[in-house]
Amino acid sequence: MPDSIEQKHQVIMIGAGPTSLTAAIYTTREDIETLLFERGAIGGLAAVTDWIDNYPGFPDGISGLDLSAALHKQAERFGAVIELGEVSKISDEGEYRHLETTSGDMYAKAVLIATGSDYKKIGVPGEQDYYARGVHYCATCDGAFYRDKRLVVVGGGNSAVQEAMFLTKFASHIDILVRGPAFRASDILQHELEEKHNDKVTVHFNTSTDEIIGQDNKVVKVVGTDKTTGQKVEFPTDGVFVFVGLMPNTQFLKDSAIELDDVGLIKTNLGLETTMKGVFAAGDVRSGATMQIASAAGEGATAALRIREFLEGRTSPVMK
């Protein structure tokens, strides 16, 4: 058990994306002392998303960076403290949960895991070799290096289409490679892509991405397969941006008592409590989450209320 008061907290939230920032607004407004740990960007994946049109309250949309900054400011206004660092292990020590972190051992009565997800890799030859030197997963970070260059975007979901549209600010031409016969992206994004970016973007459905090939330390082409004909197809390019789905950030829980589902998302009950007492999970990292920023914020609010009940020794009706 900790001797130092600095190590003891009422609530520690792991991750500082929309889920935790919302939860922290709720807990700190009720004077529940709350510390957040963030190893990447405050705002999580929302912060690296170019533009968000479906978060309520912003009729004209808002940039991911601005939304994250506003949530951050609002959480800090009520006293949330964000520490830049990483949690590597959680264990249950009775009254407290013990967290091993880059800032040393920490203890919290309740923990919220809201570590979200990162973009998945495709897992093809060349992807790792050219990481950050032609293969990228963050358009808002790396797009500026491709002014007047050709690009390939891999993926057919909302992120792929949204980020491809952002990349048209820089690139001379973009080939979007979609493994399936149609986009999974929302109709409104597809419509916007076609209406506003048709001149710079060519979409290739039923096209797998098989290999990223470089020459003289630079990416020069992507080789894929046209699944309707079985023929190999080549796309000359200067860079590749990959948006093929999400991978939960739960590696640090692998040997813990917190149960994960088959794809590594955290299992919770209806009260968002995990299989470890006093540890809650919400947002993109939770099994059953809808992977939307609005629902992540909503789950953050729910988690905060459940945490308050837990701290007060009350059991929520859904937990009985």
Partner: protein
């Protein structure tokens, strides 16, 4: 001992903000090179880091040795400035 720190950034890069926030919280001053405002310096960032990405943080020590950190990587940034 740190002599100076330069960060290559862009306007839309969330991780660039994190590097600036962390250095600011630790009391370090730095020079920021915004590549959206200075696209002519992209080649310099690429030459230094070998990577087509930002943030790139260059920590120069008093003996003129340099450490280059690509991305928001606290496990490399913290020892580089300490």
């Amino acid at each position: 001992m740190v002599k100076n720190i330069t960060i290559f950034t862009t306007n839309t890069c969330a991780y660039c903000g994190m590097v600036k926030k962390w250095l600011g919280a630790k009391g370090y001053s730095y020079e920021e090179v915004n590549l959206d405002q200075n696209p002519d310096r992209q080649a310099e960032a690429l030459k230094i880091s070998g990577a087509l990405t930002v943030p790139v943080t260059v920590v120069t020590r008093h003996d003129n040795s340099q450490e280059v950190i690509v991305g928001f990587n606290l496990s490399r940034l913290a020892p580089a400035v300490n």
